[in-house]
Amino acid sequence: MSAVLRGVRALPALPSFTSLVTVVLLAAMLLIGGVFYEGFLSLQVMLNLLIDNAFLLVIAIGMGFVILSGGIDLSVGAVLALATMISAWLLQVAHWPPLAVIATVLLLGALFGGGMGLIIHLFRLQPFIVTLAGMFLARGLCYLISIESITIEDPLFVAMSQTQVPFLGGFLSPGAIIALLMLALAVWLAHFSAFGRAVYAIGGNEQSAAMMGLDVGRTKVLVYAFSGFCAALAGVLFSFYMLSGYGLHAQGAELDAIAAVVIGGTLLTGGYGYVAGALSGVLVLGTIQTLIAFDGTLSSWWTKIVIGALLFVFCVVQRVMSFRLKR
């Protein structure tokens, strides 16, 4: 009995504690939903969480890397919108082949992010302000292409939006599968590659990382390029989902992504957390939305309030935990 107690008391000191809290919270929310609403705990509802939030998962993965490196990227929502806009324009107006469009958009996203990373590193500017300017730039570029939304009619994109891939008795969309593959790649990058170790080291302490001989500049540029790439990929997934390009798509998505990363247990000061936490964070946000949708009587703006409250709880948990770590 005392051993169990001691184990419980040592729990908050575990490095995976906040991630654990998220998973427990997720399970509790799903259970509450299952008790109160009929059909909530069906497999397809769970898979729909993934389908509807695939784009958010992908940008949260990129954001996870940026936050782990001690930075922040406010431009992801705008880059996502820009990616849908460029895809739509290239497909509908310039009539490019769809695969070439996707490749171009991904490359442009990575270049956009990398450019911001370069400015952040070369001029020692705050990531906050540089990516803020990047956000204005990307949204502005959207409106330069068109103020109206452009409908995508390309057969490949339409097929991607309508295909149902059988999965464990239910189905997933191709977009959700791409997001899961991206998550696998990100986990490998973060925990099993030299790049990932450099990201963690820089987030922990940039000066020590530089003294250890890590190429801080290259890693930083790569981190922002990766985030830009993720945002562009999320844009492609989003245009599979919405079949349109529009400058107002995914407004505020950067905040949802940051919220997902924080709820997923990554410390905003950098250097600490798991990339896979993005998945649990996104699922928690999605579950809140699904709960409110299933209830039907609650207004949708409750989503925002609950997300705010959750963010608060997680920040407090992180604080308490970092106090314990210091002792």
Binding site: I129, V130, L132, M135, S299, K304, G308, C315
Partner: protein, 372 residues
């Protein structure tokens, strides 16, 4: 104006705040050295940017500097720009103090939405037929409604301050919580509807005129005067700077860091609350979804353009006002040149990139090396 005083005053020679952008001439005649000092003054860049914009406007927009008096009110592009910049200037004044303590407040837009909503809901305004004459009456006495709205804003500031100073959260995260939830709260109050106000006196705040000038300007002037008096004539400014430079050292030196930090967030929220009242009074309604959207980003931009470093420690209130004017003039210029408004964001972002890069030490070193 104090703006001119600031530029004429030579920068202190050993001040780390004065950028060494201009290489001092070898044979320093008094006039040349004064010129060099003016170049090195922190307010030189923002003022030069504003002057350049105004010059462009002078050549490209006919009648830009034309002012006239209609019905006892002063009209003209310049008045229009300053009037429209009023909410942004208020938000920027508050943001300056927050940034000076090395913080950031991204909940400004949400507080704007919240205070505007509270005021609009309480004032409301219903039509009453009085002796056959339709008359609009406020639901709650207006003073009470304004007080309630400001109270809501102050509570938001207290919450932010408590999270930053009490819990020790990173400012951006602490204010992110309110940024996400604040609009939700405002929408909860209004059931997601836009609240329209039908009460004449309430419109005075946003579109009234006093002594021929927009009333909003007097509000901004009053807030600015009180703030700069507090910063210059009391030790508060010094304390805020010391917290921004090194919070631990400031605390060890006996400054009540936590109280100061709470103060700047409450102050910023109060400024945002006033901006919210102004905006909702100007558009005669409160839209929880769109009121003050991205205002926090514009305010941060104004502060940065004004030469205040995001790293905290040194700040310039006048600079922030100039920054807000630059943003508004830029918007006005773009609109009146007939450029599609969509370009506005692109231009704004390019300006931010240029200003930030030109303010960085790395760029200055590059410049110095080139000049040497």
């Amino acid at each position: 104006m104090s703006v001119k005083d600031e530029t004429r005053r030579p920068a202190p020679p050993a001040s780390p705040a004065s950028p060494a952008a201009a290489p001092a001439p070898a044979a320093a005649s008094p006039a040349a050295s004064r010129f060099a000092a003016a170049l090195a003054h922190p307010l030189f860049r923002p003022l030069a940017a504003l002057a350049a914009l105004l010059l462009i406007d002078f050549f490209l927009i006919p009648g830009f500097f034309h002012l006239e008096i209609k019905d006892g009110h002063l009209y003209g592009s310049l008045v229009d720009i300053v009037n429209r910049a009023a909410p942004l200037m208020l938000a920027a004044i508050g943001m300056t103090l927050v940034i000076a303590t090395r913080g950031i407040d991204i909940s400004v837009g949400a507080v704007v939405a919240l205070s505007g909503t509270v005021a609009a809901m309480l004032v409301g305004g219903t039509m009453v037929i009085n002796n056959g004459v339709p008359e609009y009456v406020a639901q709650t006495p207006m003073a009470l409604a304004l007080l309630a709205a400001m109270g809501a804003a102050l509570l938001c500031g207290l919450w932010n301050g408590a999270l930053v100073a009490g819990l020790g959260l990173q400012p951006i995260v602490a204010t992110l919580i309110l940024m996400v939830a604040g609009r939700g709260l405002a929408q909860l109050l209004t059931d997601g509807q836009i609240v329209t106000v039908y009460y004449q006196p309430y419109f005075f705040l946003g579109s009234g005129y006093l002594l021929g000038l927009p009333f909003a300007l007097f509000v901004v002037a009053a807030v600015f005067a009180v703030t700069s008096l507090l910063m210059r004539r009391t030790a508060l400014g010094l304390f805020i700077q010391s917290v921004g430079i090194n919070p631990v050292a400031a605390r060890l030196a006996g400054i009540r860091t936590a109280a100061l930090i709470v103060f700047v967030y409450v102050f910023s929220a109060a400024c945002a609350g006033m901006a919210g009242l102004m905006i909702s009074s100007n558009v005669k309604s409160a839209d929880a979804n769109n009121a003050g959207l991205l205002l926090e980003l514009d305010a941060i931009l104004a502060v940065t353009l004004g030469g205040t470093s995001l790293a905290g420690g040194k700040f310039s209130l006048v600079g922030s006002l100039i920054g807000a004017l630059i943003i508004q003039t830029l918007t006005y210029t773009i609109y009146s040149l007939g450029v599609p408004p969509e370009v506005n964001m692109v231009v704004k972002s390019v300006v931010v990139f240029l200003v930030c890069i030109s303010q960085s030490d790395q760029f200055k070193q590059l410049w110095k090396r080139r000049a040497a």
